[in-house]
């Protein structure tokens, strides 16, 4: 074993950019009185990290750090997505923290560090760095959820999230140790070749190991039955933090899950498939049905995000590269439409956090209502929005794998979620009672909404370009 070389560090450029931004902000934290300094710094870091990641999209596969870390199309795709999540979440945070008494510098440091963890996790090809990276992300998330220290709701959410999160981390760690015991390695390639050569298929321990690893990762994407934290955490957190978690944690979790399933346990499709089918089916059903009765927008979007985890998992059911590509496309579009929907909630301030707050919005803010309608249609999966392309891809891969019943369940749930989302549209467009007009919101929020809406619409009409990037590892 040799230490990391300079060549290894060059694989970490996007992560290093974020870490440099973290260090600068930490040094300046005490001096930062104006929120704009931290915001501008984070925006610049996210942009440069995103550009750095996109530059390497077509470099092919380069591995480093003794084969623990890889730079390939898959990882760069997700790093680009994580950089975009960070960028939009930062923009959406503008003008909100000062009201909540949140320390400005610390908030951005935590966002940056969580994004760094996400980025490392999508490049990890060994279970140990994967665990470390996901812990970095999750621990920052706990603090972000509870960052409004003087608020009991925020504390409660953070504690719930922390307890369930630690439990899930323990599951993941236990799964990793079992896998190590069975295969003698934690490297994905090593696990795959050990499983292939020794034919461990019949071992019940292997099922337990795989189940625990998948369960630990399913927590990150809030798939049922590992979903209980999401509604409480989203509700207790500030809306921008909830948006960041809903988009970023899910993207990173899906990326990790996809790579583990395809590379490490790729030979065990017969064992994996029922687990993923169960997770996907339950998430679809529970997420869409429980979303029906929600009156708090953040809880509603939380249950919606659980249902979307189910859709995204449909791509992984088959265990084929085409299916993983479909999940990647789903994750990409999901991030933008979810950040967009949260963005509208944020733009409307306190009013936007309640479902009733959307009453009569179309009359007061026609543009905001129209943008929200686009996100809602996309979340429902209406063409020609990106949500439809995403849904078409994952359902195709479920049907290709022969899971027709699951596909019918998925489209049936999309009728249920249509009811959920269209309830918001009905309130916006068809309600006569009008709440007091919302305050103006900062330009940064407008910019974030515009970017999200643009991706949602253009991605739906011309998805071919993006889909050509979405290549499975």
């Amino acid at each position: 074993m040799r230490g990391p070389s300079a060549a290894d560090l060059s694989l970490l450029v996007p992560e290093l950019i974020l870490v440099v931004a973290v260090l600068v902000l930490m040094l300046l934290a005490r001096r930062i009185r104006q929120g704009q300094v931290a915001t501008v710094g984070t925006v610049i870091a996210a942009l440069t990290a995103g550009i750095a990641a996109s530059q390497a999209l077509s470099w092919g596969t380069i591995s480093g750090f003794s084969g623990m870390f890889v730079l390939d199309g898959y990882s760069q795709f997700f790093k680009l997505l994580i950089a975009a999540t960070l960028l939009l979440a930062t923009l959406l945070s503008v003008g909100r923290r000062s009201d909540d008494g949140v320390p400005r510098g610390d908030y951005h440091v935590l966002l940056l560090l969580a994004a760094t963890g996400m980025m490392i996790s999508v490049s990890a090809v060994d279970l140990i760095p994967l665990y470390l990276a996901l812990e970095l992300m999750t621990i920052c998330s706990y603090i972000l959820v509870g960052i409004r220290v003087e608020r009991p709701a925020s504390n409660e959410a953070a504690i719930k999230y922390f307890l369930l999160g630690s439990f899930a981390s323990a599951l993941l760690l236990f799964g990793i140790s079992l896998t190590y015991g069975l295969t003698g390695t934690t490297a994905y390639e090593g696990i795959a070749s050990a499983l292939y050569s020794r034919g461990l298929v019949s071992q019940p321990f292997l099922l337990v190991a795989i189940g625990l690893v998948v369960g630990g990762l399913a927590f990150k994407i809030a798939a049922v039955p590992f979903h209980a934290w999401a509604p409480d955490a989203y509700q207790g957190a500030t809306a921008p933090v909830a948006a960041f978690l809903a988009a970023g944690s899910k993207a990173a979790g899906l990326a990790a899950l996809g790579r583990v399933l395809i590379v490490a346990f790729g030979t065990e499709t017969a064992l994996l498939s029922p687990i993923i089918v169960g997770l996907a089916g339950l998430s679809l059903l529970v997420g869409s049905v429980l979303a029906l009765s929600q009156t708090d927008m953040k809880r509603l979007l939380a249950y919606s995000s659980i249902a979307h985890a189910g859709y995204a998992l449909l791509g992984l059911v088959a265990g084929t590269p085409a299916g993983v590509s479909a999940t990647m496309t789903y994750a990409f579009f999901y991030v933008f439409m979810t950040l967009g929907a949260f963005g509208v909630v944020i733009a409307l301030g306190a009013r936007g956090e309640q479902l009733d707050g959307f009453q009569g919005l179309a009359a007061q803010r026609p543009a905001v209502a129209a943008v929200m309608l686009v996100f809602l249609l996309s979340l429902t999966g209406f063409p020609p929005t990106a949500g439809f392309v995403a849904k078409f891809g994952v359902i195709t891969s479920a049907v290709q794998a022969g899971h027709i019943v699951l596909a019918i369940l998925a489209v049936g749930c999309s009728v249920i979620t249509a009811f959920v989302y269209m309830r918001v549209a009905v309130l916006m467009y068809m309600s006569n009672t009008v709440a007091p007009a919302p305050a103006r919101f900062p330009l940064a929020v407008t910019a974030a909404l515009a970017v999200a809406a643009l991706v949602t619409l253009v991605g739906g009409v011309l998805p071919a370009g993006l889909m050509s990037w979405a290549v499975s590892p």
Partner: protein, 489 residues
């Protein structure tokens, strides 16, 4: 041929117009911009009719471009003799929708006309699409503007009606989505023509399941009995323009789906489901007609009459007989003209009286002779009066039905008789007799704009009644090809 891609320009011009209205259509400009857009759309579509070769069953005005190569899906458009009349109807009715909304729509005119134009794009695109994916995109696209048209500008029960419409159509179309994906898995393509060639690879069981999946979507849109219950709500609560689009075009989408997908691609599935389809059609005709008889709300009455009339259409399609299918397609056009005209008539008088109850009318003939003449004309057309358009269509369908099964023909004739009863009775209650005191002092007579809105439809009804070849000549070759599978059985 012309120098521009006619189908794409015709399809997307309304969308451009909608965007322009949203951006620059403040105040009274919106309706002018909408009128200009719909007229321009009608104008740019003209080469379709002058340059069309009726003797060929091939797709014409074909356009194709790469779209989503990963799924082997292209952006491909093309029309044949079956789709062409519907494009004309869509572009024409859109102009009339703008015209009838001229003074009726006072709230949020910008959004109203934008939604109307998006719906126009979806209608035209659906009939111009030559692959199933694109077809599905337009199929779903129309749901959103109609949902908004009904829910925002509709009557008192608009919210319930719009949500019911949305859930019903969505429940149907998601099964079509699964069917479409399964079809792609089985045949490797979604292009209509290629699918029709690949149908031999699909075994009868698969075809049966696929037929059922597509049936869910098509039956809701037609609507067939028993999934018609969204229609009375939506038609009744919709603003006039919304009712016109619903009755004129949206109901035709389902039947068009049968012609475009079920018959050519899933012939074995059609054979499996033939009897239930015929029975359901006959039930829709007779049941729909009886329910129509007892309605007290004018719009609801016309809405239920659509259930009965669309029963004729599905009956004609599933006779799988040349004259039956030709009659069904002709009757789709006819119904598009007549029910649209009837909804226009009702909308025009509703704008003055603000009531849809039949008992609030009576003696309109004395107060508004021109209006009453127009209404009489369209009521007669709806009953299948000889010399007017419905007569030919119904005659062809009934003759096709008699050829298939005698009892089907009997049910159809029964439906025609009931249809005469409810239309004449409606006319009698609204127009004849002493003027209702509630109508005193209202200026009920049509103005020039309204007359000009109804005139094209009256003219079409008369021309198609006297010379049905105007449409039938387009249908002969493609329908013969559509039914060619019967020879192979």
């Amino acid at each position: 041929m012309t120098g521009y891609p006619v189908l794409s320009v015709t399809t997307f011009l309304p969308l451009v117009g909608a965007a322009a209205i949203l951006l620059f259509g403040g105040g009274r400009r919106a309706r002018w911009m909408a009128l200009a857009t719909t007229l321009a759309t009608l104008a740019v579509s003209m080469p379709l009719y002058t340059g069309f070769d009726k003797s060929s069953s091939a797709l014409q005005f074909v356009e194709s471009a790469h779209w989503i190569p990963a799924w082997n899906i292209a952006y491909s458009m093309g029309v044949d003799g079956i789709s062409l009349p519907f494009i004309f109807l869509s572009t024409l009715l859109s102009v009339l929708c703008v015209s009838v909304s001229w003074t009726a729509v006072q709230t949020k005119p910008r959004e109203f006309y934008a939604a109307l134009l998006v719906a126009e794009t979806a209608m035209i695109g659906l009939f111009a699409a030559s692959n199933l994916f694109l077809f599905f995109v337009f199929w779903e696209l129309i749901v959103v503007p109609i949902f908004l048209l009904v829910g925002v500008w509709g009557g008192p029960g608009r919210v319930f009606a719009s949500v019911k419409f949305l859930i019903f159509t969505l429940a149907g179309s998601v099964l079509m989505l699964v069917g479409m994906i399964a079809l792609q898995k089985a045949a490797g393509t979604l292009d209509f023509r290629a699918l029709a060639l690949a149908r031999e690879q699909l075994d009868p069981t698969t075809q049966g399941w696929l037929f059922a999946a597509f049936l869910a979507a098509f039956a809701v849109k037609v609507p067939m009995f028993p999934v018609h219950t969204w229609l009375p709500n939506a038609h009744t609560e919709a603003p006039t323009a919304g009712s016109v689009i619903l009755a004129g075009i949206l109901l035709k989408m389902g039947a068009y789906g049968f012609l475009r997908v079920s018959l050519p691609i899933l012939p074995e599935g059609v054979q499996l489901f033939l009897t239930p389809m015929l029975v359901l059609s006959a039930v829709a005709i007779v049941y729909g007609a009886y329910v129509t008889l007892v309605q007290t709300d004018v719009k609801r009455l016309i809405a239920y009459s659509s259930v009965s009339h669309m029963g004729f259409v599905t009956l004609g399609i599933f006779t799988l007989d040349q004259s039956g299918v030709e009659g069904a397609i002709l009757q789709m056009i006819n119904h598009g003209i007549i029910s649209a005209a009837l909804f226009l008539c009702v909308g025009m008088i509703y704008e003055r009286t603000h009531t849809r109850e039949i008992k609030d009318y009576g003696g309109v003939a004395k107060l508004a002779p021109v209006y009453s003449t127009m209404l009489a004309f369209f009521c007669l057309a709806a009953t299948g009066f000889p010399g007017l358009n419905s007569f030919v269509g119904e005659f062809l369908i009934v003759s096709g039905a008699f050829k298939t099964q005698v009892w089907l023909g009997a049910a159809a004739v029964w439906g025609v008789a009931l249809g005469t009863a409810y239309m004449v009775w409606l006319f009698y209650r609204m127009v004849m007799g002493k003027p209702n005191p509630g109508l005193e002092g209202l200026k009920l007579e049509l103005n020039a704009r309204e007359l000009a809105t109804l005139a094209p439809l009256a003219l079409l009804a008369l021309c198609l009644g006297l010379y049905p070849e105007l449409v039938l000549s387009y249908l002969r070759v493609p329908v013969a090809e559509l039914l060619a599978f019967r020879g192979l059985q």
